[in-house]
Amino acid sequence: MSSQWSILFVDDDRDFLDAQAAYFSSRGHTVHTAESSREALDLIETTIPDIIFLDLMIEHYDSGFRLAYQIRRHEHLDNTPVVLLTGVARETGERFDQEDEGLPRWSRLDRFVDKPVTGRQLLGIAEELLAAKGDQGA
């Protein structure tokens, strides 16, 4: 794994996407952004990102889950770290419990992160997840 990653951000907030693009591009990474599930699915037909950050509420309150499932079905992305960004996780509680140990298994998501989140936090998460994956691969 090179230290230059291809990252996909899926979020309906253009400002958030542009800011992350600037932050990660300045570190030499390639950033792809999608504002909808449709755009994201189109993008992964031609691009294979190393890591994907998804917002939970894209079109609906749980679009992120559905999109993650669809991404996993893609053969090249079966093992790609997928991180779910949630602006409402802590408040809802009823939809899913982040502390639930079974959650990563059934959702096949690697990490849940509460919004608002900084680029620096996301960078740390990406480094951690990609290093773990590198170890596994090795």
């Binding site: 907030d13 400002d15 958030f16 800011a19 600037a22 932050y23 300045s26 602006g87 989140v117 680029g119």
Partner: protein, 484 residues
Amino acid sequence: MATARILVIDDEYGVRSGIRQILEMEGYEVEEAATGKEAMTLLHSSEYDVAFLDYRLPDIDGLTILQMIRQDELEIMTCMITAYANIDTAIAATRQGVDFFLPKPFLPDDLLGVTETLVRHKQARSEAERLRKEHEAGLLALAEEKTQTHSLISSLRDAVLVVNKDGNVVLVNRAMAAILDLPDDETAPRPAADLLGAGPLASLVEQLAAPQKDRTIGQLSLGERSFMTSIVTFRDDDGQALGRILTLSDISQVRRLAMEKERFIRTMVHELKSPLGAIRSLIEVATDKSLGDNLDSYLPMLQRAEGRIDNLVQLIGDLLSLSRSEQTESRGELELLAIEPAVTGALRLQAERIAAGRIVVHTDLEAGLPPILASSDDLDLIMSNLIGNAVKYNRDGGRLEVRARHIGEWVRIDVKDTGIGIAEENLDLVLTEFFREKRSETRDVEGSGLGLSIVKRLVERAGGRLEVASIQGEGSTFSVLLPA
């Protein structure tokens, strides 16, 4: 003592007047009867405390008089006076309820002693009778109160069930009978487990049978309804448990409101967090110097952060307006207002955007429109929101029309645009809080999603209604109807 009334019944004048003189000297009120018939007439027409009666009378004898006194339940003490005192007459007289026996001849002191005793007895007996009657009346009142209490419990909105200390259900009110699907609100005592065992309240049987607990509170869902359950032990004055009362209070409405409020707050938090997240990320690009050392590179992102802050401020303002519009009373004073200034004011606020979008504005306010009764703050907010939307969601070079008409008892104001319109399936949703259509056309339009909710509430508070008509891709018309 002195007011006691005495009747002397004797055919011998001497005896009568003798007794009379002695008793009158002591302050008694005395009347005489020489025959049985005379005596009965007097006894029925007036009240006496004591009657002295001779055993032998010319018409009916003393025993018969005693019998009549008893039959007619006259409240009077009787004393038989006779010269023929013997055991037989004494027994016969006693059988007829005579209170005392005084043989002739007697001394004045004997007579006075007997009289005094009998009067005292009479008074004690009257007092006892009075108490008995009072008690009876009390019982009657109690019974009536019981009936009242019963019908009161019966008509309570809350469902009530009472179990006695033996675990038998002794009372089920109408609301409870409906829940338990029982025929009416009267049930013969039967064990709580039998009555509730297989029904919707089966889970409460165990709690009902635990009188050592003074109060158990819980929640229960039956179909679509939610109840607060309360089981209370009721005790006598000595603290002995007499039974338990189960009450079910329907809290469905409260719960529904609480859930709506919770959902609102959740959405609100999301709506506040999202822009904050974006602002934070935009600023981080600058603090991280992601775009190099030239400050100018950061200006576009910082300006976007500023724009998001402006929107947040607008959102907070809208939240306050929404909260105020929920109050039943308008904050501003109600006055008779013309429509025109509110329309002109709202158009002036949008002048810059109207010019930028090259929107053609057409106002058509009927001449002689009656004024409407509202607070001017409310009317301004209604018009600025509707006209603001018509500008925001319009097309470049589109048309905005404001029309007002006096129709019957209403003033109708239509705000019509030739903008992007609303999808048919969303027509009902556009008036709910935070709802915004997610379409490519709306992506760059800023808004809190609260404006129409505010307008709807303000219009309704002014006694009017808000109507929406729209065709996606062609435009929308929002109509405010206010009482003229």
